[in-house]
């Protein structure tokens, strides 16, 4: 995909500064002139039309001839208030810089969030994926280090770039990757036989776009926890979730068409604060129980019903003795036999995890589109619309049957709560002042960004967590069923948590700190230092690249059967992504 429309986006980097007056660093482009030595780590910068990108190459002691180029995931391009840094996993995260805002911006942050300190994504290159920070940075770093050591020991050269700009940086990532490939093939690494690309989350799109743009020089691709269905779909999910919130919980949410960063931060603060302060008895300002409204929002958006803490399955043992005595808080909030309580709690966490990207990510992408589209101030920046969505159609009959108890339960004595919530959502159908209409110009700009076509010829080995609230596993299903349905040299893996459940409770009925799950749940939480999932993915791709499709397929099946935490059922399918277009009438 052409990147020409985005040469102007470098101006948008400066535009990032215009948001809050943050200075934009400019580095002098440089690249090594000789091959990176065995056992060495080489770093430098690549100059491109979209900006300068740092790169890192780490050579093994003995090179097997294959280079793995890694593309990292989404990093927030705008300052995140310190108070949200913890929940978003940004504290001490090497991919984020801790900054202090000054002047008006500092005063604004201090007034709104109690501190002028903020966190902003940097352009650090990564050469292997690390699990999500929700596991803790130390655990994530240990897993990444284990994977890196393993791949180096097998003779792979590891490489990666940072992006010239953060946010939805597929154009910058693609350009940087292509420049890195040019560097490698022009002597940056000696003895190269094959180049494979891989990436996490947004980086999976960068990797696939790189494979599409370099069909002869890239031999294989590994999309990890990808967003293959693209940004329109991804942010459509966010709109569904946040619009449901707007209708049922917080009518002042803006949801889309952010005209200022302050508007986006206000939305994020509203959602995270509400989630953080609500209980099963909390009724929203518009009269709906927050827990049930949030659960409905997540289900309509297609978010998973398991989270890193709540497995949607294990019933708090303290619940059971209370059944005989009719514990009011329990009985009126949940259906304990259906495990609905655990899914309800999980959705609180999942909406929290999805909200940051859904709000701040949308703001950043809307601003890109505004600049690239030369749109005047005040223009409608929405690239998603919901004007005629019938939200009842987004809750499948199976979901309605499964979760009716949890969706109808409430402490406020409201009858037919689910029907009432749907009625409230329907009130605004067709109302352009409360709902959203796409701006075709903005849609055009977003759709012109480098994305996934499914037409890359290389072997493709993909893996997703089954219960990923940020990039739902339906993305990988969309890839295998819609984007590349006839692709024979393609493998899709889904990681799953333990079937026995993983939520632990203390004797007092609280969530135990020993509760832990390392794959299958959360965003890009793949296990290597105790699961070998990504090592297995690399092995499968290597077999495809070196020995052909038959051997690759055999290896793929072997991995499916034997790798801890990977779903072994070849016919398994995750839930499909929600289709608001089909639900519109």
């Amino acid at each position: 995909m052409s990147t020409r429309p985005f040469t102007r986006l470098i101006a948008g980097v400066a535009a990032a500064g215009l948001l809050l007056g943050i200075p934009v660093a400019v580095t002098t482009a440089s690249a090594q002139s000789s091959a990176c030595a065995l056992g060495a780590t080489c770093e430098g910068n690549l100059a491109g039309t979209l900006g300068t990108s740092p790169y890192t190459i780490k050579m093994p002691a003995t090179f097997n001839g294959t280079v793995l180029i890694y593309s990292h995931g989404y990093r927030f391009a705008t300052p995140i208030p310190e108070r949200f840094a913890g929940p978003l996993g940004l504290l001490n995260n090497p991919n984020y810089d801790r900054i202090t805002l000054t002047g008006t911006d500092g005063a604004t942050f201090t007034a709104a969030f109690g501190s002028a300190t903020a966190y902003i994504g940097n352009n650090r290159a990564e050469i292997v994926p690390a699990p999500a920070a929700t596991l803790g940075l130390a655990a994530a770093a240990a897993s990444a280090a284990d994977l890196e050591a393993s791949l180096l020991a097998k003779g792979y050269a590891l490489a990666g770039v940072g992006y010239a700009r953060q946010g939805w940086a597929t154009a910058e990532g693609l350009e940087a990757n292509s420049n890195l490939i040019g560097l490698i093939n022009s002597g940056g690494i000696a003895g190269v036989k094959k180049i494979a690309v891989w990436g996490s989350s947004l980086g999976s799109t960068v990797a696939l776009a790189t494979a599409q743009a370099n069909p002869r020089t890239v031999s294989g691709v590994m999309p990890l926890c990808g967003v293959q269905a693209g940004p329109i779909q991804a942010f459509d999910t966010a709109m569904t979730v946040l619009f449901t919130w707007k209708a049922l919980v917080a009518p002042n949410l803006r949801v889309a068409n952010y005209q200022s960063y302050a508007q986006a931060l206000t939305d994020l603060a509203t959602v995270l604060t509400t989630l953080g302060t609500s209980t099963s008895a909390t009724v929203s300002q518009v009269g709906y129980p927050v827990f049930q409204a949030n659960f409905l929002a997540g289900l309509l958006g297609g978010l998973p019903t398991k989270s890193a803490t709540f497995d949607g399955q294990t019933v708090n043992p303290l619940f059971l003795p209370t059944l005989a005595t009719g514990n009011t808080a329990l009985a009126l909030s949940y259906s304990p036999t259906s495990s609905g309580s655990s899914s309800l709690a999980a959705m609180l966490q999942n909406v929290g995890a999805a909200a940051a990207l859904g709000i701040l990510g949308r703001f950043e992408l809307e601003q890109r589109a505004r600049v690239a589209g030369n749109l005047p101030a005040g223009s409608n920046l929405a690239f998603n619309g919901n004007l005629n969505v019938d939200y009842t159609k987004l809750l499948s009959v199976e979901q309605r049957a499964q979760f009716a108890d949890a969706l109808n339960a409430n402490t406020a004595g409201q009858e037919d709560l689910l029907d009432r919530m749907f009625a409230q959502l329907a009130l605004s159908k067709g109302n352009a002042t409360f709902r959203y209409q796409q701006n075709p110009t903005v849609v055009g700009v977003v759709n012109a960004l480098p994305g996934v076509t499914g037409k890359n010829p290389q072997p493709t080995v993909a893996i997703s967590d089954l219960y990923d609230a940020v990039t739902p596993a339906g993305n990988l299903l969309a890839y295998t069923q819609t984007l590349a349905p006839k692709k024979r040299n393609s493998v899709a893996y889904y990681t799953v948590p333990p079937t026995s459940g993983y939520t632990q409770f203390t004797p007092a009925g609280a969530i135990s700190p020993t509760t832990a799950v390392y794959s299958g749940v959360g965003h890009c939480n793949f296990a290597d230092n105790n699961g070998g999932q990504l090592k297995a993915v690399v092995d499968v791709l290597a077999t495809y690249m070196n020995s052909g499709d038959v051997a690759g397929a055999a290896k793929a099946n072997s991995v499916r059967r034997r790798t801890n935490g990977i779903e072994s059922d070849r016919a398994f399918q995750p839930p499909a992504l929600k289709d608001t277009a089909a639900a519109s009438s």
Partner: protein, 432 residues
């Protein structure tokens, strides 16, 4: 008396056909060799069925005996030559009535046990988690144990065959009985339901029947653990003389108790799934409060020793399931097992999943069972049993038939109508 043991609980309670040509032997297959397995879960010696249900946990009461009772019937059939010479093996796992566990146990049945078909998987929220997957894999899904109307969808779920009449049909039947029973028709009637499938189905059924209510109220699952007094007060304030109730047994128990405490004594018409006598008594409801409660049913009561089906099933269970109690629940399970064996036998020696589905879609009228209403399956409808008779509990806890006929209806538009259906005589051995 257990009249309708459909599973619904509240808080308390391949498609890889292996082609014959896939035989790997290079030489010629001798004519006398056993035929190659033609279908997943079927060998020349056995047929493997699978089920999920609550064997443990607070929802297991009553229902934990369902699969053992069905297995007892299958063992009886196996002892008498099996189905076209094949023995039936029933694998079943405990999902604790937990929808998060049902897919795990079901995939175990599919991938490890290599089942030919699902049999009597229990529960609406639980089975909802696997029904699309079973259909995508083209695995027959026989006789789902629930009254939810949503599984009767031959277009979306061509492999799924519910058995019990739905709450939609039950509401239509209730409307018929109310309109045609003078002492019910004259009363101020009100509707009380559990929000969810009960409410969705019952309201649709009554709307199709053109029946309206003086007032309508509902409760959320779990609320019955605390109190239904607010709803009772609402019903009482509306001067309801006939209350139609759709909810689980634990809620019926709470409703009868809260009403007695509130000096509210209307005539009750209760969904069969919420009116199991033994369960109500076990929940602490005095027999006197159950006396006079009206409830529809489609099966003979398990204590009706004069019913030839009941008598034979009881005898079979006493021999092949000695530790399994004979009650309305286990009668229902054995009846479903009898239907399954007949359907497989009718499909013939070359038993395939597609063949079984064709049999059910085209030959349901040939199947015999204890059911007192017609059984309807076709390419366009997977309704199952289609109607009800009206019963009323007496002081001894017997459900006494108030109608010597049944009324039938569909899950689609339309009203219930009186049927001339008469159940076929029971075969002596109840073998397929």
């Amino acid at each position: 008396m257990p009249t309708n043991p459909r599973a619904r609980f509240g808080p308390v309670q391949r498609a890889l056909a292996i082609a014959a040509g896939a035989i790997l032997a290079v030489g010629v297959v001798p004519a006398s060799a056993a035929p190659a397995p033609a279908e997943t879960g079927v060998t020349d010696k056995q047929i493997v069925l699978g089920s999920t249900l609550p064997l443990t946990g607070i929802a297991s009461a009553g229902y934990k005996d369902l699969a053992p009772a069905a297995k007892a019937y299958f063992d009886y059939v196996n002892a008498n030559g099996g189905v076209n010479g094949r023995s039936i093996v029933l694998k079943y796992y405990d999902d604790e009535y937990n929808p998060a566990k049902t897919p795990i146990e079901t995939r175990k049945l599919i991938n490890a046990d290599k089942i030919f078909a699902m049999f009597q998987a229990l529960g609406t929220p639980t089975h909802s988690t696997v029904v699309r997957d079973l259909n995508r894999r083209q695995i027959p899904d026989l006789f789902v144990n629930t009254g939810y109307s949503g599984f009767d969808n031959a277009a979306t779920y061509p492999m799924t065959f519910p058995l019990f009449p739905s709450y939609v049909v039950e509401a239509k039947a209730m409307a018929y009985f109310i309109q045609n029973t003078p002492d019910l028709a004259s009363k101020t009637r009100c509707l009380f339901y559990q929000a969810g499938e009960f409410g969705d189905d019952s309201r649709r059924g009554f709307a199709d029947a053109g029946m309206t209510f003086a007032t309508t109220t509902s409760y959320a699952s779990g609320q019955q653990l605390v109190s239904l007094a607010p709803q009772v007060a609402k019903l009482k304030a509306a001067n309801c003389q006939l209350v139609v109730f759709f909810g689980v047994t634990s809620a019926t128990a709470r409703l009868l108790g809260d009403s007695a405490r509130g000096a509210f004594a209307p005539t009750w018409l209760v969904t069969s799934v919420g009116a199991d006598y033994d369960s109500l008594v076990a929940a602490g409801v005095p027999a006197a409060l159950i006396n006079g409660v009206n409830s529809p049913s489609f099966l003979p009561p398990a204590n009706d020793a004069a019913d030839p089906y009941v008598a034979k099933f009881k005898a079979i269970l006493s021999q092949y399931g000695k530790d399994v109690p004979f009650n309305n629940f286990t009668l229902s399970a054995m009846n479903a097992a009898y239907l399954a064996t007949q359907a497989m036998a009718l499909t013939g020696p070359n038993l395939t999943r597609a063949g079984l589905v064709t049999t059910l879609n085209t030959k349901a009228s040939q199947l015999k069972s204890a059911g007192l209403t017609p059984l309807v399956y076709s390419k366009s409808s997977h309704q199952g049993y289609t109607g009800y008779y009206l019963g009323r509990y007496d002081a001894a806890g017997n459900l006494v038939r108030q109608t010597d006929f049944v009324v039938t209806a569909t899950n689609g538009p339309g009203v219930a109508a009186k049927s001339t259906y008469r159940r076929p005589a029971a075969p002596a051995k109840l073998l397929p």
